[in-house]
Every structure is written in C-alpha cells, then in structure tokens.
C-alpha cells in the first residue's frame, strides 16, 4: 500500500496521461468494444451455441454468391475509380494553380455532399423519365433499356461517390512529383509516352495503391447505395445483413456475415499496413 503511494508520488507523470484518457477509454469500451463484442458473441450464440451460422454461410451457395458479388463489385468500382480518377488528378497536377484549385473545389464539394444526395441524383439521371434514358431513346435505342435497380446503376453511383477519395490520394502524390525528373527523361531522348510509362506512372503508384485500397475497403461494406440503386437479386453483403435484421430478425446469421465482412476489411488493412504503413492511408 505504502509502496504504491510512494510510487505514485515519485512518478506522477505516469498516471496523468491515463487519467486524461480514462473518460474516453471507458466510453469506447462501453459503447464501441462491447457492442462489437456482442456482434461476435451473437454470431456464435444465436439461435444456439456453436458455429452453425458460419457453417450455414459456407454451405448455402446464396451467401457465397453474395460474397463473391461484393468482392467483384468492390474490385470493379476501385478499378473504375482508378481509370477515371487518374486523368483528372493528372489534369489537376499539370494545370495552373488556379485551375487545379477550381477542380479541387469541385472534388471537395462532391466529397462532402451526402451519399444520399448523390445516390438520389443518380436515380434522377438514370430513371425511366431521366435524361440518359431519353438520350438513348433519341439515339434510336427503342425501347430504351431499364437502367435503374441494376448492377450498372449501383456501380455507376458508387464510382461517382467514391472517386473523390481516389482523386485526392492521386493528386497528393502527383503534385509532389518533381517535374525535373520528367525533363531529365525527355532530355535523355525518351518519347512522351515512355516518360509517362517509365517515370511518371511508377512515381504516382503510391497514390494509386492508397486510393484503390480506400475505395475497395469502403465499397466492401457499402450499404446505402447498393440497397437503394442496386438490383434486389444481386445484393451486396451489407445489404443482405440489413435484410436479415429488418425482415427476418436473424441476428445470428447477420452477425456471422458481419464478422466475415469485418475480417475481410481487417485483412485488407493489415496487408496494406504491412507493406506501406497505415499512417499514409489516413493521410
């Protein structure tokens, strides 16, 4: 007892940070870790104790299909974001500061606009009475295709929603590329295309990896847009988890799927962390 007091008196500095941290740590334990633990617990106890829910996940081909579908969608969205985001980030990096700032303003504006607003906007654009359907009909596609509630509509909206993450990651790397390196390559006789492929592209690769990882990870757990715009026959994991809670109150199965989703996200993060360090991702 005395020694504890003495130590406390000798090193008051060691206690102080924990006192400052205590309220937040207690709060996060009670309202973050415990609810998360409850999901893990429910996955093995609802409706009965055991790994039944996980066994069900592997035996029912529906679940496997949904996981594959989610994975492929996330991969596709990440790829589209990269292919579309690259030219824009390149344009920003090569333009005058004024133009770059203007484009950045646009990207930022999109970034901060609610997912719901952007999802709704795509509903207008792709709807049966929308401009895109009208344009297709005008071009002679008759009757025009049904665009809403398909894989196409949800993918397009997700690409639009997540592309700011990609552009920001790419741009932050590209604007640090030293133009002298490109001039050096040119002066050594490289053609514009080889300068880009052999110098610029490798130098911008960290931005590509950052952006793609972010987009992929967010997309894996995407709920709002696939539920609102996607095809009901081709749900993604998060949507199926929601359905299981809202319609069937099947907490066990939903929790098991949530745990698999969580594990997949953690694996992506860990792989990224091992190779590049997480600090860079949160930028």
């Amino acid at each position: 007892m005395l020694s504890v007091l003495n130590r406390g008196a000798a090193a008051p500095g060691a206690l102080k940070p924990w006192l400052l941290l205590l309220p937040l740590v207690l709060f996060l334990c009670a309202f973050f870790l415990v609810p998360l633990g409850q999901v893990a617990l429910m996955s093995v106890t609802e409706p009965e104790f055991g790994l039944g829910n996980y066994a069900h996940l592997t035996s029912d081909s529906l679940y496997l299909q949904v996981f594959i579908n989610t994975f492929l969608t996330a991969l596709g969205v990440a790829l589209c974001c990269l292919l579309l985001g690259y030219p824009l980030a390149y344009l920003m990096a090569q333009s005058s500061p004024r133009v770059a700032a203007l484009l950045m303003l646009l990207v930022t504006m999109s970034f901060w606009t609610s997912f719901l607003v952007r999802t709704y906007a795509w509903m207008v654009l792709l709807g049966n009475n929308g401009p895109i359907t009208a344009a297709l009909a005008f071009l002679g596609w008759n009757p025009p295709p049904h665009l809403l509630f398909t894989r196409l509509s949800s993918t397009l909206a997700m690409v639009h929603i997540l592309i700011p993450y990609m552009v920001m990651s790419l741009y932050s790397v590209m604007k640090r590329i030293d133009p002298a390196l490109l001039r050096a390559a040119e002066s050594l006789g490289a053609r514009p295309w080889s300068v880009f492929r052999q110098v610029y592209l490798p130098l911008s690769a960290p931005g590509m990896v950052n952006g793609a990882t972010l987009v992929f990870m967010i997309c894996l757990g995407f709920y709002v847009t696939p539920v609102l715009l996607g095809s009901p026959q081709e749900q993604m994991v998060a949507g199926l988890i929601g359905t299981q809670i809202e319609e069937f109150l099947d907490f066990g199965q939903a929790s098991a799927m949530a745990m698999v989703l969580l594990a997949s996200t953690m694996i992506v993060l860990t792989v990224y962390h091992r190779r590049f360090g997480l600090d860079r991702l949160w930028g």
Binding site: L24, L88, L91, F115, V124, N129, M168, G221, L262, G283
Partner: protein, 289 residues
C-alpha cells in the same frame, strides 16, 4: 502536355459535377415523380419541406443529435488528445489504436451491434442513444485533427506563461486554447458533420422516435414517393457549397487589399492572411457508406 489526357480529365470533372447540380432544378420541379427535364417550375415542395412535420421533425432531431455528438466528442477527445500527444507512457500505442479504430469499421457491423446492445439498454429510438453511437464514430476524426494541431503547437508559449506566474489552468485558458482555437473549431465541425451525415447506424437505431434526416431521406428514396427529397438534397448541397466556398471567397476578398498594400511599397501584411484551412485535408476516411 497532350490534348487527350486533358480532355479525359475534363470529362471526368463533368462526370463528377453533373449529378451534383442536377438536384437543383429537380427541387423546383412540379413533377410529382422523377422526371427530367422538369415539366414546370414552382416552389411548392420547398413550402412542403418547411411545413411538413414528417420532414421538419427529422431535421430538428438531426440537429439536436449532431450538436450533442459534437459536445460529447470534444469533451472526451480533448483531454485524451493531450495525453496521447504530450506524454510518453506505457500503452500509448494501444490508446492510439483504440482511438482511431472506429474509423476502420464498416458501419453496418456497428449498426447490428448498436441495434442489439443499445436495445438492451433501452436506448434505441432515443436521442441519447444515437448521440452515443455517433460519438463513438466521431472520435477518430476529431482526435486526428486535434492531435495534428496540437503537434504543431509551440510549448514555449505555455512555458512563458507559466514562468510569468500563470497557473496551469490559466495557461490553458489564456494561451493554449486561443492558439488552438482553429483546430478545436475544425475538429468540432467534423464531429458535427460526421453525425449529421451518418446514415447506416441511424437507419437501424434512430427508429420513429428520434428519426434523423438521413434516415428519413433513405426511407423516402426507398419508397420513391416523396418529391420533397429533391428539396432536401438541394438544401444539403447548397450548405456544403456554402461552407466550402465561403473561406475561398473570404480569402480572395481579404487578399486584394494585401496585394495593393505590397504594391504601395509597404510590407505585405502576411499576418492578416487567414490561416490556410483546406477543408479536405484531414480526409473523412470512414467506412460509413
């Protein structure tokens, strides 16, 4: 630079811009369902938004919850940030991890957890329940912004105050806090936005009693019934545009006299330039989708 990549870049910019701006004419449309271009224009749905309790109540709920989240987040995060940034202690890495972890969680996973856990505590469908869940989700953003600001703080200022006889509390109140005010303000703003925007957890736990605006919007889009959604979308987009454009305009307005000043031969008043605040610098990296 060749033309083709440039053109591609411009096209992508148009791809980003078009959906953002299309909601604006939609909000003035007379059409009761999705139709573009609108058959006619009026302000009827604006009137509907501001008078219909089914829309005003969620808006009020969202504001209450966002302010509550902001206050609770700052109250918890401020001391914790000081501890992590200023002290070297056993378990610091763990604390750091714990404070940023909610950021890496898919929100649907937490939504199930809160649905059952806060349900057991009888906190679902209450403002307090949603505030608690949103605070846990806002902690990482607030912490990252505040710690970035605190790291850049010159502690000699505090030492000077203390050496002049100020107590630690007085030093904090009169020196530390004023210097860090922009950091606190941005941190709090992000916590507010995080809560005001949060959709997935709110869908599952806010219920009818404390329904938030994003939940109402989600239900309304799902039912495809209510054209008021375009009004809400336009207002939200306008708010974002305003918040982002205001500092830019302000900067441009304030820069001009400075430049004249420099031209006139007096040294440019660098201190007068507002702090360069990039609204997207601490990126809102969250798996909130």
């Amino acid at each position: 630079m060749k033309l083709l990549p440039k053109l591609l870049g411009v096209l992508v910019a148009a791809f980003i811009a078009a959906p953002l701006f299309i909601v604006v004419p939609m909000s003035f449309s007379t059409a009761p369902s999705l139709e573009f271009p609108p058959p006619g224009y009026w302000l009827g749905y604006y009137a509907a938004y501001f008078t219909d309790e089914r829309w005003t109540q969620p808006t009020i709920n969202s504001l209450i919850i966002a302010f509550g989240t902001m206050a609770l987040t700052m109250l918890l995060v401020t001391p914790a940030t000081f501890a992590v940034v200023r002290h070297r202690f056993f378990g610091r890495g763990l604390a750091n991890l714990m404070l940023t972890m909610p950021m890496a969680m898919p929100h649907i996973v937490l939504a199930i957890g809160y649905y059952s856990y806060l349900g057991d505590l009888r906190l679902t469908q209450t403002h307090l329940g949603v505030i608690i869940a949103h605070t846990a989700l806002s902690v990482p953003v607030a912490f990252l912004i505040l710690s970035a600001n605190l790291k850049g703080f010159d502690r000699n200022l505090e030492r000077a105050a203390m050496s002049l006889g100020a107590t630690p509390l007085r030093t904090f109140w009169h020196v530390t806090l004023p210097v860090l005010r922009p950091g606190f303000a941005i941190s709090a703003l992000f916590a507010f936005i995080q809560s005001f925007d949060e959709t997935v957890v709110a869908i599952f736990i806010s219920g009818r009693e404390s329904e938030t605006l994003p939940r109402k919007m989600f239900e309304s889009i799902r039912m495809q019934a209510d054209p008021v959604i375009s009004v809400v979308s336009t207002l939200l987009f306008a708010a974002v545009a305003l918040v982002i454009l205001a500092p830019v305009v302000w900067k441009a307005v304030r820069k001009r006299p400075n430049r004249d000043c420099a031209r006139g031969g007096t040294p440019a008043a660098k201190d007068a330039a507002p702090q360069d605040v990039n609204p997207c610098a601490p990126s809102r990296v969250q798996l909130e989708a």
